[in-house]
Amino acid sequence: MKNEDFLRLVVVGHVDHGKSTLLGRLLSDTGSLPDGKLESVKAYCKSNSRPFEYAFLLDALKNEQAQGITIDAARIHFQTKKRDYLIIDAPGHIEFLKNMITGASRAESAILLIDAKEGVMENSKRHGYLLSMLGIKQILVCINKMDLVDHSEKRYEEVKQEYSNFLKEIGIKPKGFIPISAFEGDNIAEKSKKMDWYKGTTVLDFLDSFEKSKASFEKPFRMPLQDIYKFTDKGDDRRVFAGKIETGKINVGDEIVFLPSNKTSKIKTIESFNTPVMDSALSGESIGFTLEEQIYVKRGEVICKKTEKMCQSSSLIKANIFWMSHSPLTKDKTYYLKVGTDKVKMRLRSIERIIDATSLDSNNKEQVERHDVAECILELNDPLAFDLAKDIEELGRFVIVDEYLISGGGIITANMDKRASKIQKQLLLREEKWEKSSVTFEERSVRFAQKPCMVLITGEKEYDKKPLGKMVERELFDHGRNVYYVGMSNIVSGLNIDIKKNSSEHVRRLGEIANLMIKSGTLIIATASDLTYEDIQMLKMIVGEDEIKVIKISSENGASDLLLKPDMDMKENTIAILEYLRDERIIFLP
């Protein structure tokens, strides 16, 4: 097997439209079958008076594979003049959609089959949609079984037209269409004499014109942080930031930014084991590096280069989702969304439309059911760093975890929080210009046995949160903590005297004040009613998602770190808050 140039290919389509037949043909027409295999299967069929099917041939091959006979055929290979193809097994039955998607998500090219006689069916559409969502750009559509429609150009054009229209609606442009007969071998390896009207190339030549996935090192640098290693107990003092470079390249000396925290630093060394010393690394590599300046970031953040276009961060996104689980995606449940190496709590805010794979009609469902494709707005508990799938697909795709299992997948199509990108720009500048204190965060933490942060008490207006905030402040102070209660009115009539009443600028300034106070080592208790979801997310961006704990007092459920009931008395709620702060190690024993 030629190592460098092999293309991963998946063959999809409605059941019985000819996937196995085409595969069998491709293998036999490229001479990729073991000697005598085809003949023996044909002979077997004859002696059992059954019509020969290429599917039997594939079964026979799989059987051998099951006994471990082929050494380099984990999956099925065939070879053309140009290169090797690795075929990814993708069962077409709707029950196996999970397996098809698993396989197809690792392919770089696809053939989609449509039966000329039967025409475009439900799974022809669904598979087309899924291929595009999975990021497969090189799609060849084969209109199969042309022999059953008398090799009619008219029928071919009909089916082609219908399917093109569908693809157009969902924004997909296939690389091409070819009329074939998989069974008879027309237009597979050789041009068919029965379809003179067709002027294009054969399937094999078409596949050879596909390109190996575009060098992703030409895109801006993206590396989701997988972990930070420090094996001091093994006598190693390096602090290594590890991950796999998704796109772009990086050099020693490059200035980098971690998103969504906006922390910046510079690459000091690139680390690896049992290789020559490296001073640069490219997309696809699993590497690690050390930094000039020690900063506190965590797994899940995305590393970008300061000189390039960076990712966005926001907690409100629009996405196209494909759902695979028996239990539907609903609005009253909390899920996890995973992008890159990040994992954030997620809720379904709204369903914009559900795309019926058969009719493309949108209908008004309240939930996304198994095998539905839907356009949705998702709310995240914390800011997430991502790209739109159309820009950098590696950072624009996600899975949704329900309970313990991956239940859906999708791509991000828009950032719905318009404020977020503006704030992000401001924060980048703030981080860049920030004068670092001569006293470290740790020193301050140790002195007061607390992790300075903002405890934001919010929720129903009817419940008076101020006395609660002050009671928590008093308790903490009496136990030797450095704590301060900030009410919104402290700011509104002072620092914010120049701002209109309902402006979100109030919240931004509250965030900046909190940030300064946290940096000074103070634990801040703040109370505010009427904060919108976007407001809280903005605060998280400004002070950092780890430096804020949201405590909600509400009779309804909702996104928060701690939910308290309004019918509890103040003393009980104070105790609950203090307990929570201890559990979260915001306050600890000296």
Partner: protein, 293 residues
């Protein structure tokens, strides 16, 4: 990046995902070439360290050189080395070599059961004490919730249906057709209480990839894989009563690679020297379903 580079980068990514997501993580080390490559990949992933427990199931019928090799590397690379065994079955002589059970039952006793109970912490584990170089009874009885296995899809049929991260229930069961999906590089890293996840970083590697990588990285392997002048070598290592060598004059890694590339074994299963495979109808499905690896 060539094929080996890509396979390596992916395996490292998976190992790091495993390490980041599981507190109680163990890596099975059978001493064979695949799991030794895996161990090497862990050193790559963690910059020369192996912060993961290595678990070995000692059947007491391994070729003695294998155990010696295991302990030497464990000392040299400072590994968290743990082994477990089915003490009762060994004491009661419920083994094939003792003539009391058939091969399949012997595998079940000495491997499957030993593995299950070692991983769950139900049976004693022995941990290498790097000060004395000996094994002490391990105080840690926590079940391992993430188990890294050096399984390859091309080895035998049932294995080609695996995912990189395969959830298993309490009984070690898995339902081939109903595994959760795994998209792009997003894996199933969450698990319900009482269940665990099998992790397969080298699923996409072939036998040839393994040997090419051993050559490229210069990874130490047991000498049993090479012909010692008698025209025979082991292609797959197991217990000596049930493992037979293949005819081959390959004396080193380069010669093994040449041999594989020549297609000499292309019609012979890699594990054909392992007698239990045949007794289980070729596919090992029964044993695998029960948790065999």
């Amino acid at each position: 990046m060539d094929r080996l580079d890509q396979l390596e980068a992916q395996a490292i990514y998976i190992l790091r995902e495993a390490y980041a997501n599981f507190d109680n993580l163990a890596m099975l080390w059978s001493i064979g070439k695949d799991s030794t490559v895996l161990l090497w990949l862990a050193r790559k992933a963690f910059f020369g360290h192996v912060p993961i427990t290595l678990a070995h199931i000692d059947t007491h019928y391994k070729i003695p050189e294998m155990i010696e090799y295991r302990d030497n590397l464990a000392r040299k690379w400072n590994l968290n080395m743990v082994y477990g065994e089915n003490t009762d079955a060994l004491n009661d002589k419920q083994t094939f070599p003792d003539g009391n059970v058939d091969r399949i039952q012997c595998c079940r006793n000495l491997k499957t059961e030993a593995l299950k109970n070692t991983l769950s912490g139900a049976w004693k584990r022995y941990r290498m004490n790097h000060e004395t170089g000996k094994y002490d009874v391990d105080n840690n009885k926590e079940p391992y919730t993430g188990v890294i296995v050096g399984l390859r899809a091309d080895e035998e049929g049932s294995r080609s249906k695996e995912r990189y991260f395969s959830p298993r229930n309490k009984e070690n069961d898995w339902n081939l057709d109903d595994q959760p999906p795994e998209l792009w590089n997003q894996f199933n890293t969450d698990f319900a209480p009482g269940t665990h996840i099998r992790i397969h970083p080298i699923l996409d590697w072939t036998e040839l990839d393994i040997w090419k990588y051993i050559e490229r990285e210069n990874i130490p392997t047991v000498s049993l894989y090479y012909d010692q002048g008698e025209g025979r070598r082991y292609r797959s290592l197991g217990c000596y009563p049930c493992t037979t060598p293949v005819e081959s004059t390959a004396k080193n890694v380069a010669e093994i690679i040449a041999e594989l590339e020549s297609g000499k074994f292309s019609k012979i299963a890699e594990r054909s020297g392992r007698a239990q495979d045949k007794d289980d109808g070729g596919g090992l499905e029964t044993l695998r379903r029960e948790g065999y690896m």
